[in-house]
């Protein structure tokens, strides 16, 4: 049942989303494609040609970069999915989705760059783990010459991605399980003689997977095109494709922009191909799986695998936590040399000089994050309200539109978008950077807010309407106050997403806008871990503060309305 009610609102939202979100992505892709075929008037390239492609193919290490990208992207995504599923199977019955989310939130909130910097120090041959064990256990007076970071196989990068992606998958799996009668199905399966592990694989797996398919594609796309983490942890000679492309884009030699654009298109091709391959594998597994499930084997053999996955996941979480602690220690150290388990001398020096850069970076990060989150939140509320007024479920194309910025690799359109912004005279100013951040903040705010919004008890609204409240009053006096908690949670997620952005700031800010993230990534290839530690700690602290605010503000503001639960979220 559709309705004409709220049509102007929906039209407005559609126009804003199309012009503000879809258009920049398409414009960016278009400019990238033009440059890939030789058209970039800004550097005097004005004839269509395939020379950029030939240049790209002759770049040393291009083939290796491509292989590394595929390997790290697929390996990390597949492994993360298996580990998260195993952990959920092992632990699901011990806690509900809310406890789970609470444990997972810190890992989701920590930006990739901060985590990677901490992890790099943790696992380096001269890192914290080696320092704690040397020389008494290892016999090392000097760090060994082993490649544990920047290794040629990209294993450190895969580890870093796992620390971030396993918690993300856990969250979506737990959310999906809460929509299913999971306990009942498990009990029935076990009553029929299936082992716990096999029951998970055969009964719950096929029900959960369709619910988390889009997030899986988002993670795959992300893992195939991540830049900041790959700079800090990944192979360097040659790096993964996304890092190589970023370097070519930013090289002093501007003629490299053309082959870089061609490579950015290859990067999108890799992602499309990656998702297609994954989809193909899904089909194959469904086919084989049906036969396998119908054969009805009851085996118990999956149990050790599940326990192992649970153990590995706990280990990953411990690594993530230790990485952040290591950053804090460094930010407070004066000298900390190998193999001392803790700094030999301490200093607040790095914290005492905000004027040296981190003060300004903190200010910019806050300003961009708050503005991008506010914009996204307003748009998301307008969208959801439009859906309510039309009594219309979300169309599939609309859902796809929300996910679009998360599925298209950033590198494929951000440089082109910068070219478009340059033409409009927008490049390098804060407004443009905020806009670019909102492209990625909006989808997450939308995803986080949609379910609680729909779960709002319609009886409350009907009662308000019966008392004579119009649509606007129902929105402001009933929906928003009741949904304050999920709205603030969505805002905190959006803010965390903005704080973590690297490429949008780098490309659209044209080097003139510096956030904690861009500075931390740059400093990670410097000589002063103490200063890097300050940036990374601040970068990790901001999202925490946002989550904390989202958790405590509703209680403070609504302490006289104890029953207000914000739907069933």
């Amino acid at each position: 049942m559709t309705s004409t009610e709220g049509r102007p609102l929906r039209l407005l939202v559609l126009v804003v989303v199309l012009a503000g979100l879809v258009l920049p992505i398409l414009a960016g892709l278009w400019e990238t494609a033009r440059a890939a075929f030789g058209i970039l008037p800004a550097i005097g390239a004005e004839t269509v040609s395939v020379v950029p492609w030939r240049q790209l193919l002759s770049q040393p290490g291009f083939g290796t970069s491509l292989m590394l990208t595929l390997w790290t992207g697929f390996a990390s995504t597949l492994l993360a999915l298996l580990l998260a599923a195993g952990f959920a199977a092992a632990m699901h019955e011990r806690f509900g989705p809310r406890d789970g989310a609470r444990i997972i939130a810190p890992f989701l909130a920590t930006p990739h760059a901060a985590l990677a910097i901490g992890l790099a120090f943790l696992i380096a041959p001269s890192g914290w783990i080696a320092r704690l064990l040397s020389p008494w256990a290892t016999g090392w007076d000097l760090p060994p010459d082993i490649a544990t970071v920047h290794d040629g196989m990209g294993l450190a990068l895969i580890l870093g991605l796992l620390v971030k992606e396993v918690p993300f998958f856990l969250l979506v799996i737990l959310a999906a399980l809460s929509q299913l009668p999971a306990r009942r199905h498990l009990r029935a399966a076990r009553a029929l003689g299936y082992g716990r592990g096999v029951a998970w694989i055969k009964v719950l797996g096929p029900q959960v997977y369709p619910l988390i398919r889009l997030p899986v594609y988002v993670v795959l796309s992300f893992a195939l095109s991540v830049v900041d983490m790959a700079i800090i942890l990944g192979p360097s000679n040659p790096p993964v494709l996304s890092v190589a492309v970023t370097r070519w884009f930013l090289a002093a030699d501007t003629t490299l922009i053309l082959p870089a654009s061609a490579a950015a298109l290859v990067q999108s091709g890799v992602v499309i191909l990656g998702i297609a391959l994954w989809w193909g594998a899904e089909r194959a597994i469904i086919g084989i799986g049906r036969v396998w499930i119908r054969r009805g084997g009851r085996g118990l053999s999956a149990e050790p695998g599940i326990m192992a996955a649970g153990g590995v996941t706990l280990l990953l979480m411990a690594l993530g936590a230790a990485a952040i602690v290591a950053l804090m220690l460094w930010s407070l150290a004066w000298r900390w040399s190998f193999p001392q388990p803790l700094p030999e001398s301490w200093s607040l020096g790095a914290w005492m000089r905000p004027g040296a850069g981190w003060g300004a970076a903190l200010g910019d990060t806050l300003a961009i994050g708050l503005a991008a989150t506010a914009l996204s939140l307003v748009l998301a509320v307008a969208w959801l309200e439009g859906e309510d007024r039309a009594h219309m479920p979300r169309a599939r194309w609309a859902e796809a539109m929300i996910y679009l910025p998360l599925l298209v690799p950033q590198i494929a359109f951000l440089y082109g978008l910068n070219v478009a912004f340059l033409r409009l005279g927008l490049s390098g100013n804060m407004g443009a950077v905020i806009w670019a951040h909102a492209l990625f903040v909006f989808p997450y705010v939308m995803i986080a807010l949609s379910d609680p919004w729909r779960a709002l008890d319609p009886k409350l609204l009907r009662a308000a309407a019966a008392l004579g409240a119009g649509p606007a009053r129902r929105l402001f006096a009933v929906k928003l106050p009741i949904l304050l908690r999920p709205i603030l949670t969505a805002a905190a997620i959006g803010f965390a997403v903005s704080v973590a952005q690297y490429l949008p700031t780098l490309f659209i800010g044209a080097g003139r806008v510096a956030t904690l993230t861009t500075e931390a990534v740059t400093l990670s290839s410097g000589s002063d871990r103490r200063v890097t530690g300050v940036y990374a700690v601040l970068q990790a602290a901001l999202p925490f503060a946002a989550y904390l605010a989202a958790l405590t503000l509703p209680t403070l503001l609504q302490r006289n309305r104890a029953g207000l639960s914000g739907g069933v979220a």
């Binding site: 040393p60 290490g61 290796t64 380096a124 041959p125 001269s126 000097l142 760090p143 010459d145 490649a147 920047h150 040629g152 192979p235 360097s236 000679n237 040659p238 002093a252 004066w334 000298r335 040399s337 190998f338 001398s345 200093s347 040296a356 080097g511 290839s525 410097g526 000589s527 002063d528 871990r529 103490r530």
Partner: protein, 395 residues
């Protein structure tokens, strides 16, 4: 005995005239603000320029406004654009911190004011003899169109607590690395510092280093670099991580030395290690030195565009930068730690005392340990070496 007498006579006639002209310049400069376009990426340099502005204002009524560049080419482009627009005076750039390719391009296009170096009284403290590092910029004769202000020189840094007798040549470095596999590496060759390390090796190993002064051709390149690649083929497997991967830049390498992952770091600034010790970034047992045969160095210059609005002010600034007191201040490791460009034999006793009184650090190399300064090869060599290295060693 007649020649020195003649020279002395000539000097005694020339000096008063020069002094008068200089007084006119100083008078015209009073009240000018010099827009010095200088790379702004180093906090200590920016602070030094701000300090110089204060001194100049007190002494000559000239102030400096630093236009902080992220790349010197920005200033060159601006002057080119002004020339294209027909703006032959009143230009926005008064002075540029410049080097190498940018200088060559401006000089060739007639975008520079000068020659002016001969007009500066403090130029008397420079070694202006033919081929001296003060008058050659990446093999290009400066012909008085730019004035030196700071020295950069390649040095190796080692931890004396771990390596007592460091290798003093590229050949002995190879022997050392063979004996201590995994303890030496250089920054990635796509980085300026990594490329400089290879250039230093090239100068030491090339059969005839004189050839490096001219632009590299196919023929000269292969002849001159053959021993370099033979040496590197042997060195690479002995490097840290088997030469499969390299630190991104000299800062990362310095951190690796601090962590004990390697035993050497390198820098293009003899005071870099001392400054790092000062800031707690290296142990106080590190020492810096140059290879025995000398090391690549270059001098950074300042030049004045042809259409500068405040040429007199710019010359007063250039002259101030050459003042022995200014150079001594710049060499102070607590200030800039940038070595003097002046010829020590031309300094008077007061000036010598100013240098001798500078705070010292064991990590600071003595002048003997620094050895002679070798000229940079022609810029084309660096480009070719970087490309050839990437071709040979990137899988």
């Amino acid at each position: 005995m007649r020649l020195p007498v003649l020279a002395a006579l000539a000097a005694s006639f020339a000096l008063p005239a020069l002094a008068d002209a200089w007084d006119d310049t100083v008078a015209a400069a009073r009240g000018q603000t010099v827009y010095w376009n200088a790379w702004g990426g180093d906090e200590r340099t920016n602070d030094f320029i701000a300090w110089a502005s204060g001194e100049l204002e007190a002494k000559y009524g000239v102030t400096i406004s630093q236009v902080k560049l992220s790349d010197t080419a920005e200033a060159v482009t601006r002057v080119i654009a002004e020339k294209a627009a027909g703006q032959d005076e009143g230009g926005s750039v008064d002075m540029i911190w410049i080097n190498g390719a940018n200088f060559l391009s401006m000089k060739e296009q007639g975008l520079l004011h000068g020659p002016f170096l001969g007009n500066l009284p403090n130029a008397a403290y420079l070694d202006l003899s033919n081929g001296s590092a003060a008058v050659v910029d990446f093999t290009i004769p400066t012909e008085g169109y730019e004035s030196p202000w700071r020295l950069a020189k390649f040095v190796l840094t080692h931890d004396s607590a771990r390596v007592a007798e460091p290798p003093k040549s590229m050949t002995s470095l190879l022997e050392w690395s063979k004996a201590n596999p995994g303890r030496f590496t250089h920054p990635s060759v796509s980085n300026f510092m990594g490329a400089t390390f290879l250039k230093q090796a090239l100068i030491e190993l090339a059969p005839d280093a004189a050839i490096l002064r001219d632009e590299a051709t196919e023929e000269t390149f292969y002849a001159a670099t053959e021993p370099l690649w033979a040496w590197y083929d042997q060195l690479r497997p002995t490097l840290w991580r088997g030469g499969e991967t390299f630190p991104e830049n000299e800062s990362v390498l310095q951190q690796m030395l601090n962590d004990g992952e390697v035993d050497f770091a390198m820098a293009f600034d003899p005071a870099a290690a001392a400054a790092a010790v000062e800031r707690g970034l290296l142990p106080d047992t590190v020492r810096s030195y140059a290879p025995a045969g000398g090391s690549i160095g270059n001098i950074s210059f300042v030049a004045i565009p042809f259409n500068a609005s405040h040429k007199e002010g710019a010359m007063v600034v250039a002259n101030f930068l050459l003042d022995p007191a200014t150079q001594a201040k710049a060499q102070d490791i607590t200030v800039l730690g940038s070595y003097s460009v002046l010829d020590p034999t031309k300094l008077d006793d007061t000036a010598k005392a100013a240098f001798a009184a500078l705070p010292s650090s064991p990590a600071l190399p003595s002048n003997e340990a620094l050895g002679p300064t070798l000229n940079e090869p022609h810029p084309s060599w660096m480009t070719r070496i970087t490309e050839e290295w990437a071709k040979r060693y990137t899988e």
